[in-house]
Symmetry: C2
Subunit: 331 residues, 2 copies
């Protein structure tokens, strides 16, 4: 058994950027379970809050590295020589990109470009997963739903522009420097451990906390709850990332989404049912963003057809796990 | 007369980035002639080689400022309060962008974003000319020539990606921060004073120098001379820039080109005729870039129709002036 693990590890060296984040943690869970013996080198600008020793079947190193630090990156490549890079590092808040467009842009596009330069200069044989965002599509008319990968890009925020630039840069590096890069356009994801700045996680936390205080009813203050979104559980997301990284074609881009739309109001009611609380929804008009897209549903046909991936975790199970998470991790 | 000049100057404050370059010098020539009394604040990372005192009808200041230096930019905006910004600063070499993609990208896109942030934070009422490049079109099939502004963008180099990002950022700032930005996609330009790293300038310089040495024949070593390009004289370019800046619609992009294609071999022969030298063309296959577009011709219909601009300087006159320039400025 040991021997098999060792053999596998030779081609299972993963460099993960944005290592300390929510998605990375779930990617480690996935590797821990399905790729025992894999070696992981995590980099981020802040330390992870999870415990590396929990991943018993993985060999994990972590280094605090800013991706714009060329020397540190070069050293990291020379020492670790990854087979795969999972590029999760991002300034992924659209709202922040409106406040600080230049910083947001740098922490998305320049950071990515710096990573590709490190790869190019290292000369290593490595395959990169460039995680992107469905924000690149902008507001897609109803008749063009679900959104396919061939839909014209229409970036409407500084964040979205940075993500389009990331894709264009990837294509240039694939075509000219022959780097192996697969790309995603990831739609909303949810799951246990997600920060409460994200809508579903926030609602679940509020309701769990109300319940803990002994309340049987509560109020959720929110923006427009009639919007329809395509939520995918983070565990399905990381499984999709692994499929794309292993079997995706270099230069190709894949939607990562469930392919199903759900009304935000229904999600809130499902969470309330799970928690066992009666919730009234109070719409705060100031929280309604006028440019917000009413309906976002992605088509997952390409990833299903080309890579055989499909979502496995139902919305109900996802919400149960999120609720349980907050039950264990809130006041 | 003095009074008119003073009145005009109130709305004629130009901030010019990339001030020390070739196009800037010609833009100053234009202002000096057609907008006496205009005030100019030039910024660049290197000092201009031309003499500011030569522009007698303009009031010119220069400051060595890196556009990524937020504080310096903020001070400059507060002190000068420009009405117009002519953004010429760029790392405009495609070849360099292949060598140093990250630096090239930063010196195009990040620099531009930093400029827009300074404008946004200054809150001033200013109109920006965002100079871009025809490189954003990539290789356009022959049947789609001449290239119109609605042609899909297909950036094939890091430089071209940076230029597309610049356009996308401009749109986001126009739509959401209500900045006034007009954009160009500028095709090849030529003219007296252009550095000899550019093909036409280089050929002219070589022939003039050969002639000065008393030679009646010479050899030009070059890449593919059968390529067709749309060359526009820099003096027509700056007149187009002024038209777009003054009367172009915010958020719109305009091709700046002559609309005529000319075979590179014919240009070489025309220069040889002007210089009075017999030239043999030696093709060095290593100088042929395989990805080079065979034919690039832009459509200038939009700028002609919307703004009434049209080119006024013939290729012959342009080549004569370039030749004269090298006659006066070479060994």
């Amino acid at each position: 058994m040991n021997r098999i693990v060792e053999d596998m590890s030779k081609n299972n060296k993963y460099l993960i950027t944005g290592f300390s984040g929510f998605v990375s943690k779930h990617f480690l869970d996935y590797l821990n379970k399905y790729e025992p013996g894999a070696a992981v080198f995590g980099i981020d600008i802040c330390r992870p809050s999870f415990n590396l020793a929990d991943y018993r079947s993985l060999s994990i190193q972590f280094a605090k590295i800013d991706l714009l630090d060329k020397e540190a990156l070069a050293k990291c490549f020379a020492a670790f020589q990854p087979n795969y890079i999972v590029h999760l590092a991002a300034a992924s808040s659209v709202a922040y990109s409106w406040q600080e467009p230049a910083i947001s842009f740098r922490n998305n596009t320049n950071v990515f470009l710096s990573l590709l330069e490190a790869i190019r200069k290292s000369g290593g044989d490595v395959k990169v997963l460039s995680v992107g965002s469905s924000e690149v599509y902008g507001n897609v008319p109803k008749k063009m739903l679900p959104i396919k990968e061939i839909t014209p890009l229409n970036p409407l925020s500084p964040y979205a522009v940075a993500r389009v630039a990331q894709e264009m840069i990837s294509r240039v590096y694939v075509d000219n420097f022959h780097l192996k890069i697969v790309m995603t356009r990831s739609f909303n994801h949810i799951g246990p451990g997600q920060k409460d700045i994200f809508v579903i996680s926030s609602f679940a936390k509020q309701m769990v906390e109300a319940k803990k205080k002994g309340l049987n009813k509560g109020q959720i203050v929110t923006g427009d709850v009639s919007i329809i979104r395509d939520f995918l559980d983070v565990r399905d997301v990381v499984r999709a990332y692994s499929s794309i990284l292993k079997r995706g074609e270099s230069g190709e881009v894949y939607n990562v989404c469930g392919g199903q739309g759900v009304v935000l109001r229904d999600v809130i009611e499902k969470i309330a049912d799970i928690v066992g609380i009666k919730v009234t929804i109070k719409v705060n008009k100031e929280l309604i963003r006028p440019s917000d897209n009413k309906i976002i549903i992605g088509s997952s046909n390409k990833i299903k057809h080309d890579l055989g991936w499909k979502p496995e975790i139902s919305l109900e199970r996802s919400l149960q796990d999120i609720t349980r998470y907050w039950d264990e991790n809130s006041n």
